[in-house]
C-alpha cells in the first residue's frame, strides 16, 4: 500500500477518535433537523440551510484544517523523521482531513434531509447544495493548509484564517456591492460574474442561488446572466471554479509543505 493511503488511513482513524469531526457532524445534524422540524418543512428549511452552508462550512473547514496543521506539526515532524516522502504525506494528510470533513457535512446535513423527505421532494436543490458544501469544504481545507503552512505562528495563523473567513464570507460581498454602485453606468454582468469566481464562498452561493432562485435569475434582463443561470453551463463553470479553488491553494500548500523546514 502506498504511503499516502497509509497516512490517510491513520489520520482518519485518529480523527474518528478526536470527536471534533463527529461534533461537527452532530452540529449539522441538529441544525438541519431543527430547521426542518421547526422551520416548517423543506421549502422553508433549504434557504436557511443554504445560509448555514455558506457561512459555517468555510469557517469550520478553515479553522479545523488550520489548527489541525498546527496541532499536527510535531507529529508531522515525527513522521518526517522516517522514510516517508513529503508529497505522499501531504496527500494523505490533506485527504485524511478533507474527506472526513466532507463526509461529516454530507452525513450531518444529508441524513435529516433524507429522513425529512427533502431529498425526494427537492432533489435538484439538495444535490446542488450538497455539491456546493463538499467543494467549499475541500476549498477551505486547502486554504487552511496553506495558511497554517505559510504562517509559522499558530495564533497569527488562526487569526489570519478568521480574517480570511470574514473577508470571504461577508466583507468581499460588500466590496462587490459598492463596486456595483460605483460602476453602475457600465455593463456589469461579466465583471460581476468574474468577481464571484474570485471568491469560493460566492461561487458556492451562486450554486445555491441557481438551486433556489432560478425564477428570479431568469427574470434578469441581461443575456449573460440568463445563459449563466439558466442552464448547465453556469453549474459547470461554478463547479470548475470551486474545483480550482480546491486545487490551486492545495497545490500551493503542497509546494510550501515540500519546502518547509520543520
Amino acid at each position: 500500500m502506498n504511503t499516502a493511503l497509509k497516512v490517510f488511513r491513520y489520520q482518519v482513524r485518529d480523527l474518528a477518535r478526536s470527536r471534533a469531526i463527529a461534533g461537527y457532524a452532530a452540529f449539522l445534524l441538529l441544525a438541519t433537523a431543527g430547521l426542518l422540524h421547526f422551520g416548517g418543512g423543506p421549502a422553508r428549511a433549504l434557504p436557511s440551510l443554504a445560509t448555514v452552508v455558506v457561512l459555517v462550512v468555510p469557517l469550520v473547514s478553515l479553522l479545523v484544517s488550520t489548527s489541525f496543521v498546527y496541532h499536527g506539526n510535531d507529529f508531522i515532524e515525527l513522521l518526517l523523521a522516517h522514510p516517508v516522502g513529503r508529497r505522499p504525506l501531504f496527500a494523505g494528510m490533506y485527504l485524511g482531513l478533507a474527506l472526513p470533513l466532507a463526509a461529516a457535512f454530507v452525513l450531518g446535513a444529508g441524513i435529516p434531509l433524507a429522513v425529512g423527505g427533502a431529498l425526494a421532494s427537492h432533489a435538484g436543490a439538495v444535490a446542488l447544495l450538497g455539491v456546493a458544501g463538499v467543494l467549499l469544504t475541500t476549498a477551505f481545507t486547502s486554504l487552511g493548509f496553506l495558511v497554517a503552512l505559510r504562517v509559522r505562528e499558530a495564533a497569527s495563523g488562526l487569526g489570519l484564517a478568521l480574517v480570511l473567513w470574514l473577508g470571504r464570507a461577508v466583507i468581499y460581498d460588500g466590496g462587490v456591492l459598492l463596486g456595483a454602485y460605483g460602476w453602475a453606468a457600465y455593463p456589469l454582468e461579466v465583471p460581476m460574474l468574474v468577481s464571484m469566481a474570485l471568491n469560493p464562498v460566492d461561487v458556492a452561493r451562486v450554486l445555491v442561488v441557481m438551486a433556489l432562485d432560478a425564477s428570479a435569475m431568469m427574470g434578469y434582463t441581461g443575456a449573460v446572466f440568463q445563459d449563466f443561470f439558466g442552464g448547465p453551463v453556469g453549474v459547470a463553470l461554478a463547479l470548475a471554479c470551486l474545483g480550482a479553488w480546491t486545487l490551486l491553494p492545495g497545490l500551493a500548500a503542497r509546494y510550501t509543505f515540500v519546502r518547509k523546514d520543520f
Binding site: F75, E77, L78, L80
Partner: protein
C-alpha cells in the same frame, strides 16, 4: 578540518557535512558548517542556545532544507522521498505524539509506514520499563514516559545512524543510565551516533568527540580533553565560556546578544567527576584536535 573517517566494522555510516548553510529569513542559523561524524563514535554537538545544533540535526534528517552546501550519509544525499531516513534513527527534542494513539499503535503505524517487517529492537522497551505502558494512549502518559517512548522508537529500527536531540532530557536517572548504556552499545556495534545535550554529564560518559557550534559555525572539533587543553580550561563550562565570550578567532562579527547564553546548564549529576574525565579509550579513533579558524 578532520579527515573523513573509515566506517567502523562496516555497520556505521560516515556523515559528511560540507559548507552547510541555512537561513531562516534574514537570520543565518548555519553558516558554512563543515563537519564529519564518524561511525563507531559518539559525537556530541555542543553550543549555546541558538547556535544551530538542532537545525544541523534536522538538516541530517531532511527536516530542514539547507540553503547551501551538501550533506551525505554513507555517501548518499537526502532526497524528497526520504529514503535516506531509513538509515537514521531520530530522537527529536520534545516530541508530541498523537494524543489518542497508544504506544503500540504508533509503533505499528511506523512499522507500517516504513514497510518494516523485521524484528524491531525492543531492548529499550524493557530497559526503560515501557512494557506496561504499551496500550496507553499518549494523552495519559507523563512527559518522562513519552520521552522513554521517544527513545525506544529511535532505536527500534536498528538504524546505522542515530541522531539524538537532548536524549536524556526529562528522564529519571535510572532511565538515563539505561539509555546511555544503549548508546554505548551502539557505538560498540560501530554505529554513528550524533547527540546534543544540555547535560554535560552525558557527554563525559559517552562522547568520543565534541563538535562545538557557535553562531552557526563549527568552532571546535576534537576530544573533550583537547578542548580543555586548547582553551586552558579546567571544566567544560569554562571551555565553553572561553570559546563563547572570548575573542573568537573565526568571529563573523555578527555576535548576537544571546550568544553568551552558554548551554552548560548542567543538571548537576556528576559534575566534578566529569570535568576530570579525559579517558577516551573507548573511542576507536581519536579525532584530531582543531580549533576551527
Amino acid at each position: 578540518m578532520t579527515e573523513p573517517l573509515a566506517p567502523y566494522g562496516g555497520a556505521g555510516l560516515a556523515i559528511a557535512v560540507r559548507d552547510l548553510a541555512k537561513s531562516f529569513g534574514t537570520r543565518r542559523v548555519l553558516d558554512g558548517v563543515d563537519v564529519d561524524f564518524a561511525p563507531g563514535a559518539v559525537t556530541a554537538l555542543l553550543g549555546p542556545n541558538g547556535a544551530g545544533k538542532t537545525t544541523l540535526l534536522k538538516a541530517l534528517l531532511g527536516l530542514v532544507r539547507p540553503s547551501a552546501g551538501s550533506l551525505r550519509i554513507g555517501g548518499a544525499e537526502p532526497d524528497d522521498a526520504g529514503g535516506l531516513r531509513r538509515l537514521v534513527g531520530y530522537m527529536p527534542q520534545l516530541p508530541h505524539f498523537p494524543p489518542h494513539m497508544t504506544v503500540r499503535e504508533l509503533a505499528s503505524m511506523l512499522d507500517d509506514l516504513r514497510d518494516f517487517d523485521g524484528h524491531p529492537d525492543e531492548e529499550l522497551v524493557d530497559a526503560l520499563g515501557l512494557r506496561g505502558e504499551l496500550d496507553q494512549p499518549f494523552r495519559t502518559l507523563s512527559g518522562g514516559t513519552r520521552q522513554k517512548v521517544n527513545a525506544a522508537l529511535a532505536f527500534r529500527y536498528d538504524a546505522p545512524v542515530l541522531v539524538l536531540d537532548e536524549p536524556t532530557a526529562g528522564l529519571d536517572p535510572a532511565a538515563s543510565l539505561a539509555l546511555k548504556e544503549k548508546i554505548r552499545r551502539c557505538r560498540a556495534e560501530g554505529r554513528t551516533v550524533v547527540v546534543t545535550s544540555h547535560n554535560l554529564g552525558d557527554l563525559d560518559t559517552m562522547a568520543d568527540a565534541v563538535v562545538f557550534l557557535l553562531d552557526g559555525r563549527v568552532r571546535f572539533h576534537g576530544s573533550l580533553a583537547d578542548l580543555l587543553a586548547e582553551t586552558r580550561s579546567d571544566t567544560l563550562e569554562e571551555a565553553i565560556a572561553a570559546i563563547t565570550s572570548g575573542p573568537s578567532p573565526a568571529s563573523t562579527g555578527a555576535s548576537r546578544g544571546d550568544a553568551g547564553g552558554v548551554t552548560a546548564e548542567g543538571t548537576g549529576d556528576g559534575d566534578a567527576e566529569r570535568r576530570r574525565r579525559t579517558d577516551r579509550d573507548a573511542s576507536p579513533e581519536r579525532p584530531r584536535v582543531e580549533i576551527v579558524r
